[in-house]
Amino acid sequence: MLVETIRLAFEALGRNALRSTLTGLGILIGVGAVIAMITIGQGASQNVRNEIAKLGSELLTVSVGQQKRGGQGVSLAAAAFDYADVEAVRSEIRGLRHVAPLSSKIGRITARNANWNARIIGTENAYFQARGWNLAVGRLFAEAEMYNGKPVCLIGETVRQRLFGSGLGAGELVRVAGIACPVIGVLQARGQTGAAEDDDNVIAVPFDMYQRRIQGSTDIQSIVMAAYPTANMDRLKMTLSGLIRERRGLGAADPDDFTILDMRQVAQSMMAATRTLTLFLGAIAAVSLVVGGIGIMNIMLVSVTERTREIGVRLTIGALPSQIRLQFLCEAVILTLAGGLLGILGGLGTAAAAAPHLAIPFVLDPVVVAVTIAISTVLGIGFGFAPAARAASLDPVEALRHV
């Protein structure tokens, strides 16, 4: 019976092929728009996730000065950290895997005949470990190099390209602030992280050497930490804040003169923003889906009116109202499902074509596809119900009089 009903539905739709196509097109566009928007949105989310993963989501940074709201400005009055602060954090805060001091400035570096401006950072190996930043070639600082002021350096991928072109970089000499430093390793390319500054445009020297020979002071601008993935970040931040306040002698009424940046927090707010955007775009697209559904309802109502007499005949010769209802529902569902399936292909195609232009990955989510198919069916039943009920409730005697 169901097979027969489906066959009848196809036959009825086929008799008005153009009308059926145009009606299905409404659903196709609606579903296509929803799928494209959600897929693009998911690509954007994936993008954010990737970038957060690059930065390390367990990353915490304590910097000197209170960041002003909405700006990057730092109050200069705040005192810098010193190495004792780093030691204190390392020994007193539980739940941290890596703790490293970090100071940096933009400076000119030269090698052979090339010169280039890069961020010069002074730090310890723990910094690279905290950020999960591996070496492409070479090695990290040796223990001795870190604390005896010996000039060696690690270079980022951008620096390697600028100074050495196609050369390996490792084993060459780079002059940093006039000091010749052998390149002991090249850091893996991080790629664009969405931050304004190129992460790979960096040259790292041992912390001790940086303080003594480049900065000329023992000031530390920030402390970079990585927590264990299981750590309770909120509590960790509280104890960290307490420790630093205590070490800086801040009274209960004094505001923080340092800032703790939590990458997980940043990640969460970025994810929330993209999720909101995805939902928003999806909702706009869903409006067109509803319009498409109304189109189906409209055409089905026309179809019921046109076929009133035929429905009367069918009822008279033994069709049950439920069978008539099923037939019209079937037609509506076929329309929405056909439109929906083509819409999914169209939407995914659009998203796949748009992804490279938007610099986001193309994410094919089977759940979204499945949900959309389900929604198409529900839409067909939902918008087909009123016309089908009307057809089923026709009085056969009246229907047969219909011209």
Binding site: M1, E310, T316, I317, G318, D395, V397
Partner: protein, 243 residues
Amino acid sequence: MSAADQTEPVVLLELARASRVYGRGDGTVVAMSDVDVKVRAGEFVTIVGPSGSGKSTCLNILGCLDLPTSGNYLLAGQDMAQIKAEQRAVIRRDNIGFVLQNPNLIARMSALENVALPLVYRGLGRTERRLRAHAALEAVGLGNRVGHRPDELSGGQQQRVAIARAIVAQPRILIADEPTGALDTVTSAGVVNLLLELNRTMRLTVVLVTHDQSVAGRAPRLCVFRDGRLVSDETGRRRFHAC
């Protein structure tokens, strides 16, 4: 046939003080009023009467397409007002075949497909449908017209296809509402002969409404309606005195 058929046939259709009123309040129209009638299995009942006398209303009720507004209608002892519409549709499907003034064939389908259509709603398979439809068309003398579309058939042939469609599911009752109304006298006679033959050979209970005096004249039992009332109900030889 069983032994029971040798004795008094069972009452298949029964109207008891059945009335049908259309509309409400001041604008009511009484289409049928206090009709009592019993139709036994295998009977051939002809209903006549002027336009608006209530005969079509009566037929719609007998065909389970409508319900009396007061009184009762019992089909095989079951009160139709007591059951739900869908259930009534099932009873209609399983017991009643319809032939209407207009053959109401579906134009895009062949005679065979038209005749097979009721079987679709009874859940029969394609092969079974074709076999039965073929047999029904043979029974109405159109075994050689199975592939023709309605517009390739004459009016009389179309009405025969409609009759084949009405009997294809082997109903107990055939309801015919002016089946000869659109046909010439000769063709009419052929259609009525066919109905009489089906009544005889298949023991099909037939209720026929007609305007046609020549058709009425051949009826074994004649009911006459006037102003919504059944004014005469005569069987066999006696009815000729009533006419």
